[in-house]
Amino acid sequence: MRDKILTADEAVAKIGDGATVMVGGFMACGTPEILIDALVRKGSRNLTIICNDAGVPGRGVGKLLTNGQIKKLIASHVGLNPEVAERMNTDDPDRKLQCQLVPQGTLAERIRCGSTGLGGFLTPTGVGTVIQGGRIADPNGGDDLIDVEEKQVINVDGRDYLLEKPLRADFALIRGNKTDKFGNTWYNGTTRTFNPMMAGAADYVIVGTVEIVEIGEIDPNNVVTSGIMVDAIVGGEKPWQI
């Protein structure tokens, strides 16, 4: 079987300027920091990052933000990283960040659709809000804070739903606690987050994992992400700590 084990720098070598990259985790818990660090070293720019949040400064995708590598961030919550607001508001084109906010459940399900071949899904979340379609202007005269393309509203048995479309990416950076050499991955505690959906929703999937084990060492009952989804495995991820 093809050897999928690479160094972090080898694994991210294909992530070029302008790529769209999904990053697992929730407030950086479940984010593969060794892969983020490698992407910082590589220095690819104008990235579109899809992640639940912006991490915090110095953690998770916060490192990519500080290094000026993100052009567009698709996330559900950015309030715990003050650098997001600063970069959204700046007039400096080199620092400018475009931020697209998506409700957390909708973000997770759009990625799941991207991983499972579905053309989208119907959700009651966001009906009657700007998420259905519209803009929120910046009263300080900057770019629109929110700009959402009008979505189809579909009524099923008397209730309105929004049609939300699938999300896919060029790359996914996911984090496991135990990964066998085929790529089968088990996640510990609350690190699972967006990782299993993202593993199916990108063309090239890299797992940064705490422990690499032999094939067969993970009980099939405990495999959450199948190795068929995984293109590259990088060991040496640290147990997550606040």
């Binding site: 919550h77 910046d138 967006f194 147990p239 997550w240």
Partner: protein
């Protein structure tokens, strides 16, 4: 009467009142901040199944120093414990629980609520753009939406005729609990159902921009 005044912190008054209506075994999602205090004010014998939307059903108290499990945090990225019978899951599953109506109640704060049960709590254009996180899903999916908040923003009403901030959802609020009173939406009408003994209906009216009815059986808020 001054010696009869409720000396508790206003946020504790709110958290304790919300805790008093939750039933043993209820599946509840508590927002960050004031709503988290609800878990510390539960009546004797009431155990909740707490959901943390980052991936826990059956969350326990905060982890004691030195006993943290590095891979287990709550949605505020703080170390927590899990109770016997807990489950970990991914974010799609988490919001399946939420939208699917499997969460009995969500308790969250708000910047504005209005008399049509609309809520706004995710963006103040020009001031802050934190994002909605899981709030938009929680308020449409949970069976009961309890807003716990200080009654006014430094004297400015937050319970309005119509929200002025971008909405989190339309017509979803079940109940508003403040340090002054409890409002419930009864047959779609904002109704004052409980009044804190330190306040009068006139004081509530002065601090509230929305129109409201007063329940025939207005009760003291404890």
């Amino acid at each position: 009467m001054a010696d009869l005044k409720d000396t508790r912190d206003p946020k504790t008054i709110i958290a304790a009142r919300i805790a008093s209506e939750l039933k043993d075994g209820d599946v509840v999602n508590l927002g960050i901040g004031l709503p988290e205090q609800v878990a510390n004010n539960l009546p004797e014998g009431v155990e909740l199944v707490l959901q943390s939307e980052n991936g826990i059903m059956g969350m326990g108290p905060a982890a004691e120093g030195g006993k943290e499990n590095v891979d287990i945090v709550n949605a505020g990225a703080k170390y927590v414990t899990v109770n016997p019978g807990a489950m970990f899951f991914d974010s799609a599953t988490s919001f399946g629980f939420i939208r699917g109506g499997h969460v009995d109640a969500t308790v969250l704060g708000a910047m504005e609520v209005d008399e049509n049960a609309n809520i706004a709590n995710w963006i103040i254009p020009g001031k802050m753009v934190p994002g909605m996180g899981g709030a938009m899903d929680l308020v449409v999916g949970a069976k009961k939406v309890i807003v716990g908040m200080i009654h006014t923003q430094k004297g400015a009403p937050k319970i309005l005729k119509q929200c002025t901030l971008p909405l989190t959802a339309v017509g979803v609020v079940s109940e508003i609990v403040t340090e002054m009173c409890v409002f419930e939406f009864i047959d779609g009408k904002l109704t004052l159902t409980e009044l804190h003994p330190d306040h009068t209906v006139e004081e509530v009216t002065a601090a509230t921009a929305a129109g409201f009815a007063v329940a025939d059986d207005l009760k003291p808020m404890i």
